[in-house]
C-alpha cells in the first residue's frame, strides 16, 4: 500500500472535504474570494484531514460529523500559513506566489483571520466541550511556539530541548490533535485515543525534522522556495544545531549570519559546512527515531486497514523529498 493507495481509499471523503472547504470560504467579497480560492487551489498534502479521517476509522465513523473536524483543522492550518508568509516575508509557497506577494501583507492578514473564523464556525458544529478545550489549547500553544521562534531567531546558543519544544508547538501538536479529535468525535475508546494522539505527535515531530532537513538539502524546484531559508532567517533548526556542536562551524556560521545582508556565496558556504558535518545524517536518525516511536504507538491499536494506512503515512513522512 503506497500513499496514493491510501489517498485513493479515502478519495470520496477527501473530495467531500475539499468541496466543503470551498463552500466554507465562499464570500461575496471579491478579493477574499480570490485569495481563498488561490490558497485552496495551491492545495497541499491535506495531511491533517487524512489523519482525522483515519483516526475516526477506529471508532464509529460518520463522515457528516467527522468532516467538520477535518475541514476546520485544514482551514486552521491554511490560515496559519497565510500569516506565516507575512511573518517570514515569503514570496513563494509550493512554487506559487503567496497572498502577501500577490496582494499585500494587510490582505494576507484579513484572509488569514477570515479563514480562521470560518474554521471556528465549522468546529462549533461539534458539541463536545473536550474537543474545543483541546483544540483551543493547541491553537494557543502553536501561536506561543511562533512567538518563541521569533524570540530565538539569530540566537546561536540554543539547545536541543528548546528546538524540540519549538517544533512540537509548530507542527506536532496540530497533527496530534488531528488524530485525537478524529478519534474523539468517532467515540474511539479513550486508551486508543491516547495512542492515536501520541502517534500523531511523534509523526509530527518526524515530519518537522524532515522539513528542516529538506530546507538544507532540497532544491528550489522540489521545495517550491529557495533552500537555506531557515538559516538565512536566523531560525536554528536541527541540522544547524547539531553542526554547531563543532566550535569551528559555530564560529563560522555566527560570523556569516551576524551580518543580516549575507550574500548568496557566504550563505552557500555556511550551508555546505553544515551539510558536510554529518549533521544531516544525525538529523535523519532522529527523525527515524520519532517514526519508530510513532509505529510503536500504532502497534497498540487493533490491526485494521486504517492502522496499515497510518503506518504507510509514517513511512512516507520519513522518506519524503518535498
Amino acid at each position: 500500500m503506497n500513499l496514493k493507495t491510501i489517498y485513493a481509499s479515502l478519495r470520496a471523503d477527501l473530495s467531500l472535504i475539499e468541496k466543503e472547504m470551498e463552500l466554507s470560504l465562499c464570500t461575496e467579497e471579491p478579493i477574499l474570494f480570490q485569495t481563498s480560492k488561490q490558497l485552496l487551489k495551491a492545495g497541499g498534502k491535506r495531511l491533517r484531514p487524512v489523519f482525522v479521517l483515519l483516526s475516526g476509522k477506529f471508532g464509529d465513523y460518520h463522515i457528516d460529523k467527522i468532516k467538520e473536524v477535518a475541514v476546520a483543522l485544514e482551514l486552521i492550518h491554511t490560515a496559519s500559513l497565510v500569516h506565516d508568509d507575512v511573518i517570514d516575508d515569503a514570496d513563494l509557497r509550493r512554487g506559487e506566489p503567496t497572498v502577501k506577494a500577490k496582494w499585500n501583507n494587510q490582505t494576507a492578514m484579513y484572509t488569514g483571520d477570515y479563514i480562521l473564523a470560518k474554521a471556528l464556525e465549522r468546529i462549533t458544529l461539534i458539541e463536545s466541550q473536550e474537543a474545543h478545550i483541546t483544540l483551543s489549547e493547541t491553537i494557543k500553544e502553536v501561536t506561543i511556539g511562533e512567538i518563541e521562534q521569533i524570540r530565538d531567531q539569530f540566537n546561536w546558543d540554543q539547545n536541543l530541548r528548546s528546538y524540540l519544544r519549538r517544533i512540537k508547538r509548530k507542527t506536532a501538536l496540530l497533527i496530534s490533535v488531528s488524530c485525537r479529535l478524529g478519534a474523539l468525535v468517532s467515540d474511539v475508546p479513550k486508551h486508543q485515543q491516547k495512542h492515536l494522539e501520541r502517534f500523531g505527535y511523534f509523526a509530527g515531530m518526524s515530519f518537522q525534522i524532515t522539513d528542516d532537513i529538506l530546507d538544507f538539502v532540497g532544491t528550489k524546484a522540489k521545495l517550491g522556495k529557495p533552500s537555506g531559508g531557515d538559516l538565512k532567517q536566523g531560525n536554528v533548526t536541527l541540522p544547524a544545531l547539531l553542526a554547531m556542536s563543532d566550535p569551528y562551524i559555530k564560529e563560522k556560521i555566527t560570523a556569516t549570519l551576524k551580518n543580516k545582508n549575507t550574500n548568496e556565496k557566504e550563505l552557500n558556504e555556511a550551508l555546505h559546512l553544515i551539510k558536510s558535518s554529518g549533521a544531516i545524517e544525525c538529523s535523519e536518525n532522529m527523525s527515524n527515531a520519532y517514526l519508530h516511536k510513532a509505529q510503536l504507538e500504532l502497534s497498540n491499536l487493533p490491526a485494521c486497514k486504517a492502522r496499515q494506512s497510518l503506518e504507510k503515512i509514517a513511512e512516507y513522512i520519513g522518506k519524503r523529498k518535498f
Binding site: I31, D89, S136
Partner: protein
C-alpha cells in the same frame, strides 16, 4: 444595574483584560493593545447573565476578539511607516494569540454559541475591511456605512448571542463618531492617520492598482480631512437627535457622557 455599578464592573474587567493580554516579549516590541472602554461598558450593559464568572468571561473574550481584530489593522501601518520586521511579525502573532485566548476561554465555560457568533463577526469584519481597502467607486456615504458596520459588528454579535437582538443603531453611530474623532485628533496633533488616507482615496481618480496601498497627495489628504470635519459635526447632530428617542438609559448615559467630552475637547464645536 445602575450606571455607577456598571462603571465599577467595567473597571474591574479592564484590569482582567490587561492581565489576559499581558505577554512580556510581545509588549517589548509592540504598543500595548488599546482597550476600548466604551465598548467594554456597552458589553457590560448588554449582558443579562446572572452568573458573574460566565458574565465576566464572555465579556472578556469578546473584548479579546475586538483587540485581536484591531491589532491586525496595524500591519498596514507598519508597512507604510516604520517597516520594522520584528514589529510586523509580533503584531501578526499578537493578534493570533489574542484570538486563541478568546476561543480557549469560551471553550472552558462551554459557550459554543458565543464562539460561533463571534467567529461569524470576525468573518464579517474582515470582509468589510477588505471592502474598505479595495472596494471600487465607493463614495463617502458607502465608506462610512462600511465603517459603521465594522465598528459595531462584534458588539452586535455579542448582543445577538446573549439577548437575541441587535444593538441599537445609536451604538454603531457613536462608535463611527469615535473613529472619526480619533483620526481627527491624530491630525490635530500632527500625527499620521492611515484611516484618513484610505478614506480619502475616493477623491482620487486612480484606484486601479489593487496591490499597493499608496499614501495620498497632500491636497487630496487635506480634502479628506475637511470632509471628516464636516462628518463629525453631522454625526454629532445625528446622535443628539437619536438620543431624544433612545429608551436605553444606560446606553444613553454612556453616549451622552462621551459626546460632551468630545465637544469639550475639540475646536470644531466652538
Amino acid at each position: 444595574m445602575n450606571s455607577n455599578e456598571l462603571f465599577i464592573e467595567a473597571a474591574e474587567l479592564k484590569d482582567r483584560i490587561r492581565q489576559a493580554i499581558y505577554h512580556p516579549y510581545l509588549l517589548k516590541y509592540i504598543e500595548p493593545p488599546k482597550i476600548d472602554e466604551e465598548k467594554l461598558l456597552i458589553l457590560c450593559s448588554i449582558s443579562n447573565e446572572k452568573n458573574d464568572n460566565i458574565k465576566q468571561e464572555t465579556i472578556l473574550s469578546t473584548m479579546l476578539v475586538q483587540i485581536a481584530l484591531d491589532i491586525h489593522d496595524n500591519v498596514l501601518l507598519i508597512d507604510l511607516t516604520s517597516n520594522s520586521q520584528k514589529e510586523r511579525q509580533l503584531t501578526v502573532l499578537a493578534g493570533d494569540y489574542y484570538s486563541s485566548l478568546y476561543y480557549k476561554r469560551l471553550s472552558l465555560i462551554n459557550e459554543r454559541r458565543l464562539i460561533r457568533m463571534l467567529a461569524d463577526g470576525i468573518k464579517e469584519v474582515n470582509e468589510l475591511k477588505t471592502l474598505f481597502l479595495y472596494g471600487e467607486n465607493l463614495d463617502t456615504k458607502q465608506l462610512l456605512h462600511i465603517q459603521w458596520r465594522i465598528e459595531g459588528c462584534i458588539l452586535n454579535q455579542f448582543s445577538l448571542a446573549v439577548r437575541r437582538q441587535k444593538i441599537s443603531p445609536i451604538i454603531n453611530e457613536f462608535f463611527l463618531l469615535k473613529r472619526l474623532m480619533k483620526e481627527k485628533e491624530l491630525i490635530d496633533n500632527g500625527l499620521f492617520s492611515l484611516w484618513i488616507h484610505l478614506f480619502g482615496r475616493q477623491f482620487t481618480s486612480n484606484r486601479s492598482n489593487k496591490k499597493n496601498v499608496e499614501l495620498l497627495p497632500q491636497e487630496i489628504y487635506k480634502k479628506a480631512v475637511q470632509t471628516v470635519d464636516s462628518l463629525i459635526i453631522k454625526s454629532c447632530k445625528k446622535i443628539e437627535a437619536m438620543l431624544k428617542n433612545d429608551e436605553d438609559d444606560i446606553v444613553s448615559s454612556i453616549v451622552k457622557r462621551q459626546l460632551s467630552l468630545f465637544k469639550a475637547s475639540n475646536s470644531l464645536f466652538e
